[in-house]
């Protein structure tokens, strides 16, 4: 048995400046950027191992994601192919960004919301119910009602976890995971053959299709729907609510230091409930725009294959729970996904099968490095300290 002493610090103040310095560095763009670059670097080495040129491979993925569109557009080239690719990237990014906000908002309140997927589905189903009913409404009204229903559904599902946390102290990680599976299996039951919400086609485990009046406008033909604008708006709402409202003040206070928030007179339990409900609203909105803009209906099998809100946890992580960060991280993850899809990637450059694996690998590496950011910061500072001290502090034997 050995005793590990607390880290030796010169003076209390020195320790603070070191800690805040590290935090500032970590919360800034530097670490996520470094993590991303590092992930691409290692991914490039793997590409090299498979006998391909990493630069041409990355370039193909870049173009597959449609990121060459602005260049082509500016230089007056034919932008049809790149435009479609970019639309797909933006469309994929939409639910990622919205679900990431569901993770981020809770996180700023000190909660880890793993329940985005369940909230996504409940929002989706609520919106579906409105979208498949109320025939004859004007399009703006019908869309608005669907969106409201989706937000409400997600908030309801997130709110359950929030309510449990606030009243009996049930940990949100456990409850949100359980609620995910309730939503997923509940959804499969609803739309199974002879299920309560199975559509008119008797042999298909599938819902009805929403009315045309409930579909989102296509803002850039053929793929990109108005849901992308909703996601952008949600980013603004996220920022404003957190930083410009008393509710956001309370959420941030609780997230940073719940004890001090309580001392300050803030109702911590209420903040927990609201944070998870608002998170749920974002995730429910993600499900809604997927329904109204892309899917128009749901297959029973979708519940087994769609895990967008889990990927979104990584997006929130990489985006450091900041609005701009989430936008960029959402675009990156979406680009990796569309850029390596067999439709978009030139198979002569890099086999899409390999590329899809590469995308997954890069995503995983990014998450790993972002997760290890404190380690990176520590190593960075540590080496500088090493240079001063002649040895890293970690190797100091325990005194006595």
């Amino acid at each position: 048995m050995s005793v590990t002493p607390p880290a030796q610090v010169p003076e209390a103040e020195e320790a603070y400046s070191l800690r805040t310095g590290a935090q500032e560095l970590a919360t800034g763009f530097l670490v996520p950027l470094a993590a991303t670059l590092l992930a691409f670097l290692i991914g490039g080495l793997v590409v090299l191992l498979t006998g391909h040129n990493p630069i041409t491979a990355y370039r193909a993925i870049f173009e597959g994601a449609g990121f060459n569109w602005p260049y082509e557009w500016l230089t007056g080239q034919d932008t049809r192919a790149s435009g479609r690719d970019l639309q797909q990237t933006l469309r994929t990014a939409t639910p990622l960004i919205l679900s990431a906000l569901a993770v981020a908002f809770s996180f700023r309140c000190g909660l880890f919301n793993i329940g985005g997927q369940g909230q996504y589905w409940v929002g989706f189903i609520f919106a579906l119910l409105v979208g498949t009913h109320l025939e004859g409404l004007s399009r703006p009204l019908h869309v608005l009602l669907c969106v409201a229903a989706g937000i409400l559904g997600g908030a309801f599902w997130g709110g359950i976890a929030g309510f449990l946390r606030a009243t009996v102290g049930a940990h949100e990680v456990i409850t949100t995971i359980m609620l995910n599976w309730i939503a997923i299996y509940g959804g499969k039951w609803l739309f199974e053959l002879d299920g309560p919400l199975q559509g008119a086609a008797p042999s298909l485990p599938r819902s009805e299709i929403i009315f045309d009046s409930a579909t989102l406008w296509i803002i850039w033909s053929p793929y990109l729907h108005a849901g992308f604008l909703i996601a952008l708006l949600a980013l603004v709402v996220y920022y404003v609510v957190l930083n410009r409202t008393t509710l956001g003040f309370e959420v941030r206070a609780v997230g940073f230091n719940a004890e001090a928030a309580r001392y300050g007179g803030i109702n911590v339990r209420k903040s927990y409930f609201l944070a998870l409900a608002i998170s749920g609203a974002f995730a429910g909105l993600a499900g809604t725009v997927d329904l109204l803009g892309v899917k128009y209906a749901v297959d029973q099998s979708d519940f087994d294959t769609n895990f967008v809100a889990f990927t979104a946890i990584a997006v929130a992580l990489l985006g450091r729970n900041k609005a701009v960060g989430i936008l960029l991280a959402g675009l990156l993850f979406a680009a990796l996904s569309t850029g390596t899809s067999s439709r978009n990637l030139d198979p002569d450059v890099f086999e899409p099968a390999l590329a899809t694996d590469l995308a997954t690998m890069i995503q995983a590496l990014v998450i790993f490095f972002v997760g290890a950011e404190l380690l990176i910061v520590y190593l960075w500072r540590g080496t500088r300290r090493y240079a001063r001290l002649g040895r890293p502090p970690a190797e100091e034997p325990a005194p006595l």
Binding site: M1, S2, V3, P5, P6, Q8, V9, P10, E11, A12, E13, E14, Y16, S17, R19, T20, Q23, N243, R244, T245, T246, L247, G248, F249, R252, A253, F256, N257, E259, A260, A261, R262, Y263, G264, G265, I266, N267, R388, L389, G390, R391, E396, P397, A398, P399, L400
Partner: protein, 509 residues
């Protein structure tokens, strides 16, 4: 006792950290058999200097000599081998193991090279305890003995490893006055046996009591080394802070008005659900400071939490200016006129990741003009913060600086500014000067007296007897969750000390 040839010499030690010179050509020497105190404010470089000596930091410049020979200290192991032992402020003991096991840890006597020889370990611990006249039970588990005893175990640990130079980092910070006296007794015995002690402190009266010589550090520089004889608190304080400091709080006699805080038969449970406050009744009137003295853990924290709504009241009544607030939430109590300077400013008083403006708005962010219809108006908070930071002379940052980057004293000023700004009727101050240095303590004390003179009722809960005695107009002693005595301001430290340890249980007036 002290022999004049230095046993240890530090010459021209310079240690730089990014942005600060923690030690700037500091000279220090230690003679055999003396207690040499290192005195300085927080951040003056005391800990850095002894960490250099203990091999935890390598100095950028300077040399260390032991018995006149230069030595290289690359790690604490080297320091231990050279007979240097250190007792940290936070003990490094394993709670579930016995005293003897903790002492021999890492240098255990063994049988067959693998088995711990418990008998031998115990025998050797007993032996060393006897030779230094330590009263300690080697079988006792660390978790079952008091803090003072634990500190002795730490000292024994160092002695067991052959230490002749003992570094004690703020050793009295965790002790009661009685325990501190016992520690001083131990230190005297040790120096008589030829040990030498480096005693780090920022408490002047202690230094004058135990040290043979005192070295004052200020902002990384050695200011002066002087013998205890002839040194005064005022002189040391001036050297420490660099300006004249008034240690005595200058105050007029209290002119108490009507009772603003009334507590009747208050019962509160602690976190484990055990009774912590048991039937406490008292009142604090406008324009007086009532001090609550007591050894840590006798219900003070629970009392404060109950007054401020942070924990449930089991039984009893709390009134603010006659209004029953017993069932009110924390926020309602703040609005009712309670101001609260919390015991732990970093855990509770401040949100370190918030800016100073946000911290100053911690209670009032939702009130006009700081917000309207749920919309925050950060500009208003910044304006308010700018005014308060100036008024309270907070240094080291502006309204948008993060609270974490301020020093302890300035952080406390922010807390006090926030609480006083709300013009409370009752100000509850829990250990308001904990961890602060002389200059900041002076500020806090004067401010509390000012608040009293403004006509507020001030309840001061502190573990520092000196603080209680110099500020309070009336003193209540809490022991085992009960008020066991009430005294006027001219009570002696001895009387209070006896009451604090349960020696008297006289009826409360």
């Amino acid at each position: 006792m002290a022999d004049d040839a230095p046993l240890l010499e530090l010459k021209g030690i310079t240690k730089r950290f990014p942005g600060v010179v923690a030690n700037d050509r500091v000279d220090f020497d230690l003679r055999r058999g003396e207690v040499h105190a290192l005195l300085g404010e927080n951040g003056a470089g005391k800990s850095t200097l002894v960490n250099v000596l203990y091999g935890l930091y390598r100095p950028d410049e300077g040399e260390i000599l032991i018995n006149g020979k230069p030595v290289e200290l690359g790690s604490p192991r080297d320091a231990i081998d050279l007979g240097i032992g250190m007792v940290h402020q936070h003990f490094m003991l394993i709670p579930v193991m016995t005293v003897a096991e903790n002492i021999v840890l890492g240098v255990e006597p063994t049988r067959e090279k693998v088995l711990l020889d418990e008998d031998a370990a115990e025998e050797r611990v007993k032996q060393i305890a006897r030779s230094f006249k330590f009263a300690i039970d080697p079988h006792a588990r660390i978790e079952n003995i008091g803090v003072g005893q634990q500190q002795r175990v730490e000292i024994l640990k160092a002695l067991f490893r052959g230490a002749e130079i003992l570094i004690l980092d703020e050793p009295t910070a965790v002790l009661t006055p009685q325990e501190a006296l016992e520690l001083f007794g131990i230190l005297r015995t040790l120096t008589q046996e030829g040990m030498s002690v480096i005693f780090i402190s920022h408490k002047l009266h202690e230094v004058l009591e135990i040290a043979d010589r005192v070295t004052v550090l200020r902002r990384g520089k050695k200011i002066e080394t002087l013998p205890r004889e002839g040194a005064t608190q005022e002189q040391l304080a001036k050297l420490m802070v660099g300006r004249e400091v008034f240690l005595r709080v200058d105050k007029k006699p209290a002119e108490p008005g009507e009772p603003l805080l009334q507590v009747e038969d208050l019962h509160v449970l602690d976190q484990r659900g055990l009774p912590a406050v048991r039937g406490v009744s008292f009142e604090v009137r406008a324009g007086e400071i009532v001090g609550i003295a007591g050894v840590d853990g006798n219900g003070q924290t629970e009392l404060i939490d109950a007054l401020t709504g942070l924990t449930k009241v089991q039984n009893g009544v709390i009134r603010i200016a006659g209004n029953d607030i017993t069932r009110d939430s924390t926020r309602e109590r703040f609005d009712e006129g309670i101001g609260h300077i919390p015991e732990d400013r970093q855990r509770r008083g401040l949100i370190l990741d918030f800016t100073l403006a946000e911290n100053i708005g911690l209670h009032d962010y939702r009130n006009e003009p700081n917000s309207r219809f749920g919309w925050l108006r950060p500009g208003r908070l910044v304006t308010l913060a700018r005014r308060l930071l100036k008024e309270f002379d907070v240094r080291g940052g502006g309204p948008t600086t993060l609270a974490s980057s301020l020093s302890g004293g300035n952080q406390q000023k922010v807390v006090i500014a926030r609480e006083v700004e709300r013009d409370p009727r009752v100000l509850v101050a829990g250990q308001p000067t904990r961890g602060l240095d002389v200059g900041a303590i002076e500020f806090v004390h004067n401010r509390l007296v000012e608040e009293r003179d403004e006509g507020r009722a001030v309840l001061l809960v502190s573990l520092e007897l000196e603080e209680i005695m110099s500020l309070s107009d009336r003193i209540l002693v809490i022991f085992g969750g009960e008020i066991v005595g009430e005294y006027g301001p001219d009570v002696t430290e001895e009387e209070l000390g006896v009451a604090m340890t349960g020696g008297t249980r006289e009826a409360v007036a």
